[in-house]
């Protein structure tokens, strides 16, 4: 339908949003809701994220890198070890290409540098879900 926002077709898709910023978590949460992802979990660091991941087994994870207690890349390694099929999008301010390459080599399916627009975020989420 013209003008209708794209949405997730898969029923009950779970997303885990990991970022130490309240604003970033809320921004990604709103975008996930807009594409009809209804089961949303959030974590402010890698350690909490790992606990939630083991318990909830989300199909999709957005992961910041620079966080207290456990950074995003260490968390990514642990998550991929638990579920090699998980779709992880690394969303970080670390804009250098080496960081992006490192994330992809470790198993991330997407990489979105901050700052991003709402459209870029939605597109990245849809691309990774669809892929």
């Amino acid at each position: 339908m013209p003008g209708e926002a794209p949405s997730v077709q898969e029923e009950h898709m779970k997303i885990l949003i990991v970022d130490d910023s309240f604003v970033m978590r809320k921004t990604i949460e709103k975008c996930a809701e807009a594409i009809m992802i209804t089961e949303i979990f959030t974590a402010s660091n890698g350690r909490i994220a790992l606990e939630l991941f083991e318990k909830e087994r989300p199909a999709l994870v957005t992961l910041d890198i620079t966080m207290p207690e456990m950074d995003g890349l260490s968390c990514l390694d642990a998550i991929v070890k638990i579920d090699p099929h998980v779709k992880v999008i690394v969303i970080t301010a670390l804009k250098d290409s080496a960081t992006g390459l490192s994330a992809v080599r470790r198993g991330a399916k997407g990489f979105l540098p901050k700052p991003f627009t709402h459209d870029q975020l939605r597109e990245e989420l849809m691309n990774v879900i669809g892929g």
Binding site: S21, A93, A98, P113, F116
Partner: protein, 148 residues
């Protein structure tokens, strides 16, 4: 710090406000910090280690942080915790983005948000410390860069 490195910070700040809010900020002329204080309501501070050592911080009025948060979240009156968090997120994004120029060995800490005077932090930075003034929606903010 070279002129090119200073230019990189300016470009990153301009890009940040343009992409996040859709409204560019006006950049002032950078200058070397003297004895006069550079303090606003909230300061987002990032420690730098690795190839360079020091800190970067951005000190901003609450009004500006509230307006940026409002644009990002699409909420007219965002909660105070989000407004305070914004100070750290802006600093984090600027420090992370300059790695495009400074390289991957330019290591950044998690952000610390300070309410009020950050001058004790500044005193520990090795001179010269550069101040880059900026204005967004008539609110004045200052990016402070002290790198060895």
């Amino acid at each position: 710090m070279s002129e090119q490195e200073l230019r990189c910070f300016i470009d990153v700040v301009v890009r940040y406000f343009t992409e996040v809010t859709g409204e560019p900020c006006e950049m002032g002329v950078p200058y070397v910090k003297d004895a006069s204080p550079v303090i606003s309501d909230y300061t987002g501070l990032i420690g730098i280690s690795g190839s360079r050592k020091g800190a970067i911080y951005i000190t901003s009025p609450r009004e500006m942080l509230a307006a940026v948060t409002s644009v990002i979240l699409g909420e007219e009156t965002p909660a105070e915790e989000y407004i305070i968090d914004m100070a750290g997120e802006i600093a984090n994004t600027i420090a992370g983005n300059v790695r495009e120029t400074f390289g991957s060995s330019f290591m950044i800490s998690v952000p610390i948000v300070i309410k009020g005077a950050p001058e004790d932090v500044l005193f520990r930075l090795a001179p010269p410390v550069f101040i880059i003034p900026l204005k967004w929606r008539n609110c004045s903010s200052y990016l402070v860069v002290g790198l060895e």
